[in-house]
Symmetry: D2
Subunit: 394 residues, 4 copies
């Protein structure tokens, strides 16, 4: 029993939609050839460049979820039979690899672990061995929502630079964009793939592909794009061409409102907010783990992301705990999937999150431990509140 009250959607996406975003979507359909939708579309395209931190690149908006954007990224840059290396550190890089395989790409997986980030040295070894430059692209997820890991993209960039390898660096930022620092221009990422429904606080239905100069050069040779997905077609004069047809008006109005919020807060402040909230979360979990039935999934603290936190729960009680706090407290966290399916829980802390949402979630988890008779180390809630207290000191 209990419940009622605002739902706390603390899953790794879709994430909580701000009231402003929902309200912005509540607009009549309008003509697609001129007027407000054309202006909205143009300013969204422009402002997304700030979000991806690219100056020389261009951001394409697809009516799709993130998986659709994966296809578009591959289709515009690669050709049938090309080889790519996927950096395995969870579920989603693998999945992207499977998408590539399905399009006729030869995919090699650099083996990794679900409890650690990709090791740049392993990649260095592989690239050094690729004397004939048969590897056309590296596919990596910055944050993997299945494991909670954050991969070190600058380090991967350095490996490419130091080995002098020319492969495209393609990064899935679906779960990291507008959550943690991502610098497309400075890190010379060639392609970045994002989506609306996580850090961007917008209803699912929009996928983003940011492409830099090297990716655009590759696009000229790529033979897997279609007229609908093709970047060239999407840079036409008329606005609807950017969507290969009718623009998704209401979703764009929503995106506009979300971008306004992010830019008003300031992207770097958005990152800082996520960093502090992630730290508070891990402070509680670390305290509980000292003598308890829970354990953070990612072993090395510096590899734990500030967007998704995954922890393992002993004795198969993850599902029970998840259902209890969903039904009694209105707090939704996700169950682990893939290699660690059912063994733990995933907390999304992306986008429209703040201190009471994080602290309220943590306290309900502790209430759940109590209700289920689970053991937990002391001081978790106080530690989390302390992180927030320190952060808001003036």
């Amino acid at each position: 029993m209990l419940k009622n009250g605002m739902n706390f959607l603390m899953i790794p996406g879709p994430t909580t939609l701000p009231a402003e975003v929902l309200r912005a979507m509540h607009r009549p359909a309008i003509d697609i050839y001129d007027g407000p939708i054309v202006q909205t579309s143009a300013s969204c395209h422009d402002d997304l460049k700030q979000i991806f931190r690219t100056r020389s690149g261009h951001v394409y908006i697809y009516v799709s979820n993130g998986h659709g954007a994966w296809d578009a990224a591959i289709g515009n840059t690669l050709s049938r039979g090309d080889k790519v290396v996927v950096l395995d550190a969870g579920h989603f890089a693998r999945e992207w690899g499977l998408a590539a395989t399905g399009m006729g790409i030869e995919v090699e997986v650099l083996p990794g672990s679900w409890r650690a980030a990709t090791d740049p040295q392993a990649l260095r070894a592989r690239l050094s061995a690729d004397r004939d430059s048969t590897i056309k692209a590296i596919l990596v997820a910055q944050v993997d929502t299945a494991s909670g890991v954050v991969n070190d993209i600058p380090a991967i960039r350095r490996v490419l630079d130091e080995t002098g390898h020319e492969a495209l660096l393609m990064v899935d930022v679906v779960a990291s964009l507008a959550c943690i620092p991502f610098e497309m221009e400075d890190w010379r990422v060639d392609v970045a793939v994002g989506a609306a429904q996580k850090g961007l606080m917008t209803p699912a239905g929009l996928g983003f592909v940011a492409a830099g100069p090297k990716a655009h050069a590759a696009a000229k040779r790529a033979n897997l794009k279609t007229r609908y997905t093709s970047w060239e077609g999407r840079r036409g004069e008329a606005d609807y061409l950017k969507y290969g047809g009718t623009p998704p008006e209401q979703l764009l109005f929503a995106l506009r409102a979300a971008l306004d919020m992010i830019l008003e807060e300031g992207l770097e402040q958005v990152w800082r907010r996520h960093a502090i909230l992630g730290q508070a979360l891990r402070a509680a979990l670390s305290a509980w783990a000292t003598a308890g039935d829970v354990e953070l999934n990612i072993l090395e603290p510096s590899q734990r992301s500030d967007a998704v936190t995954v922890f393992l729960v002993r004795d198969g009680r993850a599902r029970q705990l998840r259902e209890l706090i969903a039904q009694s407290c209105g707090v939704n966290v996700g169950l682990t999937i893939g290699d660690i399916a059912g063994n733990g829980l995933r907390i999304g802390h992306m986008g429209h999150v703040n201190a009471p949402m994080i602290l309220g979630t943590l306290a309900c988890l502790q209430a759940g431990f109590t209700a289920l008779g689970m053991r937990f180390g002391p001081g978790g809630l106080d530690a989390a509140a302390q992180v927030i207290g320190d952060a808001i000191k003036r």
Copy 2:
């Protein structure tokens, strides 16, 4: 800094609007003579009787806030020069008394304290002394949001019964309706005054006056009602007469959605939820108070309400604390008003509230204490989480 995320509106009204309620309001205007608005209006009138727990009474809906409903309650039952006794135990009973005075009623205040409920024995003494039955009505607030007190309405009823006094029992339930038990029929309350924007989770703009048989009998003699406020006119056949003119369509659609939520949850379960959440709040505050700069305003635990909690903050830091957690955490609590203005904070926990909202609010308060260097006794958050944990055990 920090902030973003869902706003926690923990003031003593208006309270958080459920998404369902906001959505319900988003409907075109329609004809007022037949169709959906007439059905909605009729079912709201019916279902409000369940909320007030009256069978023999009738609930009138006014387009007004609670203060407007005060006027309507007085105007329909009393006449110029009548004497009433106001039971002082905070701000709002006094205010209701001033409203009565402004309408030409003679108002006597039974003195009370801002830190305690009305003492039924004091009322007994006063009524016993009223040999000529000059007192026509007793005005009392069940919960006073300024002090956080809950008055014992059944005990007051017993005093009236035991002294054989015929005064009308008129209760302000603005801050208690659909939060804590109120039994209009069983407690033989003659008039109860409520409003939309607290436990009823509906946008401000609707006031409710529930009237029982004795109040309806009194209405025949009362000479302060207007054609607009008159109960008689509002019981006409046509629906718009119930509002003395155009019905407030969008507010009624919202009210309908809120009533659906309450009735689906079950009113008694709604009360239980408030009771547990109130207990959790006080568990933390009591722990903090053991060695700290805060103190619960109401001295006697049994007189602390499950709808609003007021605590005093030493050294004039209430305002600073309030602003810090509003601006940094997005948690809005109220400053104390009236006799204790500025000395403390008021937390509203009415209507659309749940465990993570309460626990998140508490944790942000503790973060605020930390940030401001305030002292607080240990174990507050754990105690609150323990209350929730015990409640959700199956």
Copy 3:
């Protein structure tokens, strides 16, 4: 059958809500003591002065419908036993008179007709006869939605001036405000009463009372006001005092959006739009009336309002016609009420109306005539389209 499509709400209120207004209302509840609601409230109060065209006056916002605002207007300016004269020319002036009677005012009705405006000369005779200035106020509706009449307020003002009578001039502009010219300052109207749900395109639930200097002077002596309705209390510093309690936040957000629309279009352009649309409507009705079963209710063309048009239907087919076009076409017009109840139809053309709404409504009426075998003179639709065509010529 047929139907589906946008509903055409062509009744004399509530009127069509613009999408912008509905959307604006879709906002969470917020703190009432500072921030956006205080700013919104202040700017609404200011901008309403532009709508009422008063510089020296003040506009009070009541949480009520128009009938509640009637009470507030009387209560703040008059005292028990005062005499007023009501200018009868339809339903609503009479009703306002009944409201006054119910508050203890002595009401005299200057007899009129439902088919004509008040005759200023009849008022002149009455005022001239009032040697002792026993008449404290004149109550008149600028537009009466029951008859469709527009009264000549400047002419009534002149009668007061020329007879040197000091009675307050109190005008109901519920159905004319933001529809047709109303000049509170220039016409020296002392009190004007409006409401949200007609020309102001805002959900029902807000009533407005604009008061000029003479009304404020009268308010000092008036003894029918309550603490809740009192202008003096409503001019307090804190914003919530303007509402005598909790402000109706969502309705104010809606009002703000509606005022923005009106001010952006320009109030005088709003008046022009209503004038042209009214002319188009009457062009069709006049053509149909030449050989048909319909007839305009107001006999003298110059007394037909540009906000509501009432026409009589022979052989008792009004109700049948109304239901047919409501159910088949989604066009809602109102049935006549009061003295001409059931004999005709009332078309509201107030607020959010434009050419295709008027022309579509007219064409559906003609389709209804056809379906019911009613007679109608030729050329009605062409005449209406011609009015619009002439108006949009550049």
Copy 4:
């Protein structure tokens, strides 16, 4: 000047969104693994079968516009190098052909005209000549919004049957679905492609591909599908697999509301409504054309669709007329595109349309003729009103 009032979006898509649909979209994001989104998704998939009138087929929902659904239809049924024949009768069949070409399909265009439907006999000749069955599919648009034509799908089916040709029959019903009769099962259509933003009254962002048994058989051999677009993957157990990733929650809530409206009205009644409204439109245009500056684009009356009407305007005044009624009347019609670009206007009458919307649009067109000094034959508006009058006779 003029304007204000409800916008009349009479373009060939996106079309007017019902208030119910906009409201339905206004819901918080929720968990994608269970609960309301899974139920909504399942029932939408089911009910779309009723809309496509297929029993043995399955409908796939893509997060895309109609052009994205074209790709998915081709990708799942054809392979690189396959030959298809496109039946040219306007813009959109050609465009679909270009999409196929871009995917590596060999496309042959059966020449047609922009002023007539495809001639089944021309197709018969072509298929008879295809002795080796090299043609794998026929691509045709049922309604082409560029020309206003409706193609005779049953006749095309008969040609395939009578020539014994095994090519897949693939029909674009983007502009006809839920507007005019389409019988996927009875007409043995193998693949039908639709979209949300026209007859389905849902915000743009959803594309539909309905596939019958023969298409599913073909899918086993097709080599152009990706993991994201593949039907096989989209028939997985978990709901999110149906979208190849995160489902577009808010769009699905909107679709659910639209389907409820259609099924409540009854699909066949929806078709009848479109038929009557189309007839009314053409009655006016035909009258105007008798002596005027306008002319219906499609020459043969039986080939004019009940979803989109295209008419040509003499002397290059189409654009001027379009802008005048958009800016003065709030009526948006579309300019012609493609081969007849700029020579005429396109009126969309799909989805959420009713009698006053059509009649109001026509009357504003006539007002526009007047304002611009254009000639038009008499009796157009009366003729249109007569069609409606006859239809609503009881």
